[in-house]
Symmetry: C2
Subunit: 164 residues, 2 copies
C-alpha cells in the first residue's frame, strides 16, 4: 500500500531496535487482548479454544466443521474435543448439510449466543477503549500492519467476511 521508499523517506522505522519494540508490543498486547475473555472462561468449564470456536460460529452461522478447521488451524481431534463439550452443554448445534449431507453445519443455540455475547462484549470493550484512545488514523495503521503480518492463507480467511 504505502510506498515508503519513494521521495527519499527515512527508513529509520525499520531499525532492529524498532522491530524489537514491535515484537514486544505484540507479545504484551496479545496478553491484554485475551485476558478479559480468559477471566470469564475461567469460572466456566471452558477455555480459549471454546471461545475461538464460538466466535467463528457466531461470525458465520452454518459454517462446516471442515471450514472451521481451516480457520482455526488445528487438528480435527483437537477441535472435536471442544465441539463435543459445546454440543453436550447445548451451546452449539450441528445440522446436516442440505446439499452435501456429509457436512455438519454449525450454529449457536440461544444459550451459545449468550455466551458469545458475554465474551465478545468483554473483548470489544478493551478494543474499543484502545481504538478510542488511539484515534482513527492509528487504527487504520494498526489494521494495515496486522494484515501485512499474516500468512497469505490466513489473510484470505480474514478478508473473506465483509471488510468495512
Amino acid at each position: 500500500m504505502a510506498d515508503n521508499t519513494s521521495g527519499g523517506e527515512s527508513l529509520l522505522f525499520l531499525t532492529d531496535e524498532n522491530l524489537r519494540k514491535g515484537i514486544e508490543a505484540m507479545f504484551f498486547a496479545y496478553r491484554g487482548f485475551t485476558s478479559d475473555p480468559d477471566r470469564i472462561l475461567d469460572g466456566l468449564d471452558y477455555g480459549r479454544a471454546h471461545h475461538r470456536a464460538v466466535h467463528f460460529i457466531n461470525r458465520s452461522p452454518g459454517l462446516s466443521v471442515g471450514h472451521l478447521l481451516d480457520i482455526l488451524g488445528v487438528t480435527k481431534q483437537s477441535l472435536n474435543r471442544v465441539l463435543r463439550s459445546l454440543f453436550d452443554d447445548g451451546l452449539v448445534e450441528a445440522r446436516v448439510g442440505k446439499t452435501d449431507r456429509r457436512e455438519r453445519r454449525l450454529y449457536l443455540t440461544p444459550k451459545g449466543a449468550a455466551l458469545e455475547r458475554n465474551l465478545s462484549d468483554a473483548q470489544r470493550a478493551r478494543m474499543r477503549a484502545a481504538y478510542r484512545a488511539a484515534g482513527p488514523a492509528a487504527v487504520a495503521g494498526f489494521r494495515t500492519v496486522l494484515e501485512a503480518m499474516m500468512d497469505p492463507e490466513q489473510r484470505r480467511q480474514y478478508q473473506k467476511e465483509g471488510d468495512t
Copy 2:
C-alpha cells in the same frame, strides 16, 4: 494521545463490526507472528516458552528470576522447568547477584545468544516485511493501538526499556 472526539470527527471506526475485524486481525496476525520461530523451535527440543525466556534475557542481560517472572506472567514452577533445560543445555547461565546474593542473574551463553539471534532473525524478518509494506505512519498507529491495548502493568514492563 490522539483526541478523536474533537472537531466533530466521525466515530464510525468504533462500530462493533470494526471492532470485530480488529479482534480477528489480532488473532490471525498473532498466528503469523509466532509461526516462524515456532517452526525453528520444532526441530530442537524447545518451545515457545523457551523463546520468550531467551528473548527477555537477551534484552536485559543480568535480570533476576523474579523480574523475569513478572515480565512473563507465569508461575515460578513453570518458568523453572524452562530455565532448567536452558541451563542444562548451556544456553543460559545464572550468576549469583552481587549486592543480593539470593538473586540469580541470568545471562545468555554464546550458544544461547546464537539461538536467540536465530529465532529473532526469523521473527524480525516478518516484522520488517510487514513494516515496510505498511509504511512508517501505519507502524506508528500500530504501536499506539497495541500500547493502548495492554494492561497498565504490562505497559510498564514494555516501556521500561528505551523507547525509540
